[in-house]
């Protein structure tokens, strides 16, 4: 129940969700989609208005011009009886499109209702309908159509209804799958608890979300139905020539005289091909526009190669009074990270001594995780370091190539992340995953690697039996121990723990914190802990930096920061902690929320939420200034905070 605090759902909170108007605009920006839609509209209008628009009747013969080819009088030529091809195409379109519409209505009606019923009701209804769908799919479509046409000879309606019915399981499955997913959404439960009845929930919450996949299926099926209708008509099984023109029987007729007049095949065949293509392209476009428009954009974590050219604005000096970086193992200066043009981390600097534990604390959206992930070359898609340096073991991690990072990652810097299971491959046993990492970094035999894996498990207090387990067999706490063992396997000098206990229960958290503390004592490795929890920070860290709106706003030894915070944000965030307020009192909350990077104010980033803010705070970038031994603060009112206390 403790899972997913804060940044659990990145990207979902993006403003400007797709509205119908926006979807239309997106469609309009695709020339193929526009052309397809225009063609379909043209076809429908021409067919519907054939009796008034067509230059000739469908059966009007002009024996003087037989198989004439395109002329001024007959734009698309005439057939072997001298009938105008254009007019026949328009009249034939009526039959053909009507057939498609009949099949579509049956297909959509059956597919959507059955799919919704199966997906939303679940249980026996679902099982019955799903089996029914499987059964229908198993029927050979052609044979069913032939049987139907044998019973109703030449009936287009019967054939098209049968086609829609035997194809409906395709849509049924799509709708059922989508409905099942939507049914599990929390807002469906919420709607139920608002007292809405089942049908109302379906109408208001489920159907709108189904539009995308359904439209795609319908467009695909329309193309199929068009071809099927034409094929049957071509074969003379439905709408034979005697009943008037259809695109299918026009193709059929043209094929009989193809050696004398090949042109005759072009108008009818071309109309068919273009319409089928238009259905497909339109479906594609609709899918692209609607698919995932309500979902979070895919969050891909892929390493981004740092720009190869030397970066401008290299080591910016830290503020006066900073300890020299001489004894530090990691020295970060002026680190600036941007996603596209959006700067999310600004001028971050800190030092880490060997064996030291540094905490980075702040709320979600302040740039904590992005900062530490950049040290491993693991910035999410599109992110890159635009300025600054991060010196570690003789390398500048801010300008490192993917190759450099491969050497650093794991072997020198280990990572433990929030979601313990995410680092484990569900299809391999723990033992083989550990052994793989061990052998990647040290030339050991399989047996030796296994022994080392057992040692590592003992180090994180797991029984050796865990080696033979699969990740899904582990509890959250055990999985996090395994990820710590994985991070420790190559013997890193620095462990980055990104919210390592956020997803865990409090008693499990205490165990993991104890473990991390013990490991630090045993191995002497340094640690960077990213957390939003002041308690976790107090437990594990020697020194802390507080981040707000992509900047470090305060840096101090852990003891000092709790005893006398110098930045108003630190003070507010500490005060908001329920532990620090007497029971029953009103919690001193910081008004407002962390602004997104696009809305960071000029001057001090915390200004709009700050009780100490004055006009001077908007003046310009606030520098980090010394505030006592080993302390830095980015606030022009730091002294006021001290005086008030």
């Amino acid at each position: 129940m403790t899972a997913g605090r804060g940044r659990a759902l990145p990207g979902r909170a993006l403003p400007g969700r797709a509205l119908p108007g926006r979807a239309l605009r997106q469609m309009a920006s695709r020339p193929l989609a526009v052309a397809s839609a225009a063609w379909l509209v043209l076809v429908v209008v021409a067919a519907a208005g054939a009796s008034s628009l067509a230059p000739y009747g469908p059966q009007a013969t002009d024996l003087a011009h037989v198989m004439s080819g395109p002329t001024a009088a007959h734009w698309l030529g005439t057939d072997r009886l001298g009938r105008d091809v254009l007019s026949r195409l328009m009249f034939g379109g009526q039959v053909t499109l009507l057939g498609v519409a009949e099949a579509l209505v049956v297909f959509a009606g059956l597919g959507i209702t059955l799919g919704l019923a199966a997906g939303f009701a679940g249980g026996w209804t679902d099982r019955l309908i799903a089996r029914f769908g499987d059964l229908v799919l198993a029927l050979p479509g052609i044979i069913v159509l032939l049987m139907v046409l044998a019973v109703y000879p030449g009936s287009e309606l019967a054939a098209m209804i049968a086609l829609g019915a035997i194809s409906c399981p395709v849509l049924l499955r799509v709708v059922r799958g989508a409905t099942l997913a939507i049914r599990g959404e929390l807002y469906i439960t919420a709607a139920r608890l608002s007292g809405l009845t089942g049908p109302r929930i379906v109408w208001r919450h489920v159907l709108p979300r189904l539009a995308g996949p359904v439209i795609v299926q319908l467009s695909l099926f329309a193309a199929t139905a068009l071809l099927a209708q034409s094929a049957l008509s071509f074969l003379g099984l439905s709408t034979p020539e005697a009943q008037g023109p259809s695109w299918g029987n026009m193709v059929g007729e043209a094929s009989t005289v193809v050696s004398q007049d090949p042109w005759l095949l072009v108008p009818s065949g071309g109309a068919l091909a273009l319409t089928v293509m238009a259905f497909g392209l339109l479906g594609d476009a609709v899918r692209d526009v609607t698919a995932g428009r309500h979902l979070a954009p895919p969050v891909r974590v892929r390493p981004v190669r740092a720009p190869s050219k030397p970066m401008p604005g290299r080591p910016k000096g830290r503020a006066p009074g900073t300890a020299p970086a001489g004894g530090s193992m990691l020295s970060v200066r002026g680190l600036t990270i941007a996603f596209g043009d959006l700067v999310v981390v600004r001028d971050v600097g800190f030092d880490l001594s060997p064996g030291e534990a540094l905490g980075i604390v702040g709320e979600s959206g302040c740039g904590k995780s992005v900062t530490v992930r950049s040290l491993l070359g693991l910035l999410p898609g599109g992110g890159r370091v635009t300025a600054g340096s991060a010196l570690f073991a003789g390398r500048d991690l801010a300008a490192a190539s993917e190759r450099d990072f491969r050497r650093v990652r794991g072997s020198m810097i280990g990572l433990v992340s929030q979601e313990p299971a995410s680092g484990l491959d569900p299809s391999f046993r723990i033992g083989s995953q550990l052994a793989e990492v061990i052998r990647r970094h040290a030339p050991l035999s399989r047996g030796q690697a296994r022994a080392r894996a057992a040692e590592l498990l003992a180090q994180v207090n797991l029984p050796p039996g865990t080696l033979a387990r699969y990740p899904h067999e582990l509890s959250g706490g055990m999985a996090q121990r395994v990820s710590i063992a994985l991070a420790l396997a190559p013997g890193p000098r620095l462990l980055i723990a990104d919210e390592p206990t956020t997803a865990l229960d409090v008693t499990v958290q205490a165990e993991i914190l104890g473990l991390l503390r013990d490991l630090r004592e045993q191995t002497g490795m340094a640690m960077i802990l990213v957390t939003h929890d002041w308690g976790v920070l107090a437990d594990l860290c020697d020194r802390a930096i507080v981040m707000y709106a992509g900047q470090v706003v305060e840096e101090a030894a852990v003891g000092d920061i709790y005893a006398s915070p110098r930045h108003p944000y630190t003070e507010g965030l500490l005060a908001a902690n329920p532990h620090r307020t007497p029971a029953g009192g009103v919690l001193p909350a910081i008004p407002g929320t962390v602004p997104p990077p696009s809305a960071w104010p000029a001057g001090c980033g915390f200004r709009p939420r700050c009780q100490y803010a004055t006009d001077a705070c908007a003046g310009g970038p606030v520098p980090m200034t010394a505030a006592g031994p080993g302390r830095l603060v980015r606030c022009i009112h730091a002294d006021t905070l001290v005086a008030r206390r």
Partner: protein
Amino acid sequence: MTPATSLVAATAREPGVLEVRDLTVRYHRGIRKPPFTALHEVSLAVGPAETVALVGESGSGKSTLGNAILGLVPAASGTIAFRGEDITCARPRRRRALTADIQAVFQDPYGSLNPVRTVGQTLAEPLLAHERREVRGAERTARVRAALEQVGLSADDAARYPGQFSGGQRQRIAIARALVPSPRLIICDEPLSALDLSVQAQILNLLRDLQGDLGVSYLFITHDLAVVPHIAHRVAVLYRGRVVETGPARQLCSAPRHPYTQALVAAAPMPDPVQQRARRRAYRAYQAADEARAPAAALSDPP
């Protein structure tokens, strides 16, 4: 289980809003496996304008209890009474009517709002649901706007989509939705867990203020014992489907008596290095004692 009975007895004098007696909930896990008992004869009462916190870790059954009260999971035995009426096996129609009185706020403010419906549309749903012909058009809009203002948002936010709000604001919207039908009881299922610290404090204060103004009762489900003294009058601690300790919030948090509650308190890290050092020692001592006692009889699995 004496504390549990005393909890029921304490509220027996005044008319309770919610009374759960000996509630057992089982989840069926297919034909082969025996059902999993998520709640084991749990008793609990919530009085008018009272907040009862339900504390436990994952798998303790705390959300199951909330869901059982909301009618989302069936009870195997025991009773759930709302203002004296037994609603354990309420028919769907009655259940829908009950939603006017019992509402819920969930943990995930991102999932609990449909992204394609405006805030106003979502908030109007509880009013549509009850076939209340008198709540129409303008009246409905007015109530939605009032609810939004009650939770500290602007009435004009009704026209916006959930995606345009931050997590804390969305949680305010979720609270507004719960308030719209003027319920007597709101089940708050980890309403703070997905929020940042500064926003948590805002929401906690908001819930308290609303209780002061409206006299609504809360069943506040949480894993975080630290917030309990700030919101709850009384607490019940759940462990593996059983209530192991109940009592007044402040008393229970400052002087827990059951070893499991003691472990919970000791495990939560203090936001102060000095206090945390002491607490860590206490937790280690507790663990050592626990191992010596092992198998800890009090924490043993239910059969």
